[in-house]
Symmetry: C2
Subunit: 225 residues, 2 copies
Amino acid sequence: MDSVSVSSPQDGARLESRRTRILDAAEKLFAEHGYDGVTLRAIAREADVDVALANYHFGRKHELFEATFMRRAELLNRWRIRALDEAIASAAPEAPSVRAIMDAYLYPLLHGPHLSDPAWRSYYALVAYVNNSTEWGGKLMSRFFNPMVDRFIDALRKALPNAPEEALFWGYHCLSGALTLAFAQTGRLDKLSGGVCSSEDLEAAYTHIVAFVTAGFEQINLSVE
Amino acid sequence: MDSVSVSSPQDGARLESRRTRILDAAEKLFAEHGYDGVTLRAIAREADVDVALANYHFGRKHELFEATFMRRAELLNRWRIRALDEAIASAAPEAPSVRAIMDAYLYPLLHGPHLSDPAWRSYYALVAYVNNSTEWGGKLMSRFFNPMVDRFIDALRKALPNAPEEALFWGYHCLSGALTLAFAQTGRLDKLSGGVCSSEDLEAAYTHIVAFVTAGFEQINLSVE
DNA sequence: GTCTATATGTTGATAGAC
DNA sequence: GTCTATCAACATATAGAC
């Protein structure tokens, strides 16, 4: 159903199907300008296809948006679940540490072509937009990511046996907010730090976020509340 | 310059100036749908004024947007700086603790009418939108908030003498992301937690975020890096 | 699958009366 | 300050030829 592959072998790898080109263009533009800031015409122009094709392949505009959001969400979920399973296996019979759980959650974001591929960077900015949007946040994030997140919360519950339920969920919310803002790469950090940090340095973001949120979660177990 | 007050005493407090009504309507709608998701006509309808008035009072659409963003930003900056100054004064001659600094940063968000006033809740959602937007984030957040944030980073620098500069800025980024997502009230947390937590419970958000980010910052001072 | 053509409505902005 | 009237541009969506 999802034709991420090239349209036909003889074209060479450079020639993607028009359907995929629309998805790529939509991803880039939605990430930059949000849902309402992008027209189907702009997407068609960016993808170098006719305007009517977006409608033919994806139906209405919001369906194209959701298809764009879903494409990489499914990949990401698979990779994260696999990383979590590995963390659980290698810590068995003990529960994996908070740090190991955070690594499983964050490492797949950077592994593979992600850092150098501008399409993945666009996608992360798109997730930041969706996550913080009152229109999409509650719906899309929940639908596509919550089942995966449930598994991570469960692992945290075992790693932090004294933690109140409520604190686990708010802790995840802190993690989610910190992560999506960092990966949105808005350039604000560059200005705030006077050049010491770069918004585009996702490797640095990873390092600092893992340390920050690990301590944030571990504190939950200690608090009396 | 900013006529937040009522237009004339004899109207009674209920009758705001049309200019203020436009600002209020813009705040609500921009928070819900983002910049491009709102038309000047929708704002005029919500404010119950003529379409042409938005242009007369604020000029172009993006100028209205910036005026909306600025209005409460200036108040918030004042309150936060005052809270920080008080924390510094009451800890003197020592530097205030990380916890005290975080309290100064977060407490003004809830103090006063903020919790019960839907307009402030809208504003927080608007900040979340701006913060994570590739179009506005780097520009507007920096312009209106960075001078205030500089002062908080400076306080953190003194509270955490072993912290590398870079880690302080990334730490703030984590704080900012966690905070704005929580105050965006997207409803995701309600679903994720199966009703244990509520996105709208800003008091709970405050409690958990303060604890989470305080631990996140304190960890920086300990890490060898 | 792809494109041309078009229906039908909306957009931001302003000129000019009051 | 406020409103009426209007413009030129652009929006989504689809019907029907190829």
